[in-house]
């Protein structure tokens, strides 16, 4: 299970690293990764896994680093809008909701 994101995250935490996990909790339309897909991030910004196949990872990692700092979980919405299209929108036109939490 070495490619399992939660195993990786738990392993990092076990080494004493600060870790946050992002999970896709809802999708609409043709979102690239199914509900339950996960991304783990450590305090240095190292990450494994995927919540969108690359479109929104940058924004999620930023929020994850913030969650590592202050411990507050958060629920993020991503979709394609005119403003977001060149920023952190999903190229494929879907919408996703991502939950980010710190491993205490």
């Amino acid at each position: 299970m070495s490619d399992d994101v939660l195993d990786q995250a738990a392993g990092w935490r076990g080494e004493g690293r600060k870790v946050a996990v992002a999970t896709v909790v809802k999708t609409w339309g043709s979102s690239p990764r199914p509900v339950g897909s996960q991304l783990a991030v450590d305090a240095a910004g190292k990450f494994v896994g995927s919540v969108s196949g690359g479109c929104i990872e940058g924004a999620v990692i930023k929020e994850a680093l913030d969650a590592i700092e202050n411990g507050r979980p958060r629920l993020l919405d991503f979709g394609v809008t005119d403003e977001q299209a060149w920023d952190v929108g999903l190229a494929c036109g879907g919408k996703v909701q991502v939950y980010v939490e710190r491993l205490d």
Binding site: L6, D7, T23, V25, P73
Partner: protein, 230 residues
């Protein structure tokens, strides 16, 4: 996530015990739900508990709206399985591709010399006869079974056990002629036309596969289609 929740979640997954992590997306409070019990601080009423347990049973993750905010149920079931009968040439790419696709793979071959190949050392191998192996493996609705040997002594007992199980996919390698003869033998053993129609033969999607790896791709593609698509 509290350390005790993470530890219990990891333990359940390592033990291949079905578990759902239930999270209140507003408060962050969490609970672990097993088939018959639950642990953790998140408060859920009886209906919510039953709903989450039902989602776990259906291997479905998703968000439910409640008065206390949205609740996310993340189902972690042990991986679906593929039981491959026959450590023959095609078994090598088949166990690899099935593993890549996320299946827990068990290779069954009573002929120790076949299954002892280094190519299979990373996989669970049973040297039991297929009827004994199947009795131990207990195929269920999340199990696919593929026979590869062409040898009735090995394939047939595996197929009989498969037909008596709820396996979601049963495939048997062999030409149309081999397959017709196989179905006749199974009928003589008392299986009905309806029952034997569960066996996919010739096995795999018709993609013109020739090499062992291509045939393995077509088999895993067909398993995927049955599990996800049809």
């Amino acid at each position: 996530m509290k350390p005790e929740i993470l530890a219990a979640l990891q333990k359940a997954r390592a033990d291949k015990r079905p578990v759902a992590l239930v999270t209140n997306l507003k408060s962050g409070a969490q609970k672990l739900i097993y088939e018959t019990e639950a642990e953790g601080p998140l408060c859920l009423d009886v209906d919510m508990l039953a709903g989450a347990a039902d989602m776990l049973k259906r291997d479905e993750s998703g968000t439910i709206q409640t008065g206390a905010g949205p609740i996310f149920v993340h189902a972690f079931n042990p991986p679906p399985r593929v039981i491959v009968v026959g450590a023959v040439h095609i078994a090598e790419p088949l166990v690899r591709i099935a593993s890549l696709a996320g299946y827990g793979v068990t290779l069954v071959d009573p002929r120790r010399a076949f299954a002892a190949s280094q190519k299979f050392e990373d996989y669970t191998v049973s040297n039991d006869w297929p009827d004994e192996a199947m009795a131990k493996l207990k195929p269920d609705v999340r199990t696919a079974i593929v026979t590869l040997t062409h040898d009735p002594k090995i394939d047939d007992p595996a197929l009989e056990a498969a037909l008596k199980s709820t396996a979601f996919y049963i495939g048997a390698l062999g030409s149309r002629k081999t397959h017709a003869a196989r179905l006749e033998r199974l009928k003589a053993r008392g299986f009905t036309d309806n029952e034997i129609s569960r066996i996919r033969g010739p096995v795999g999607l018709a993609i013109g596969a020739l090499s062992p790896a291509e045939i393995a791709v077509s088999i895993v593609a067909e398993i995927t289609k049955i599990r996800r698509g049809e």
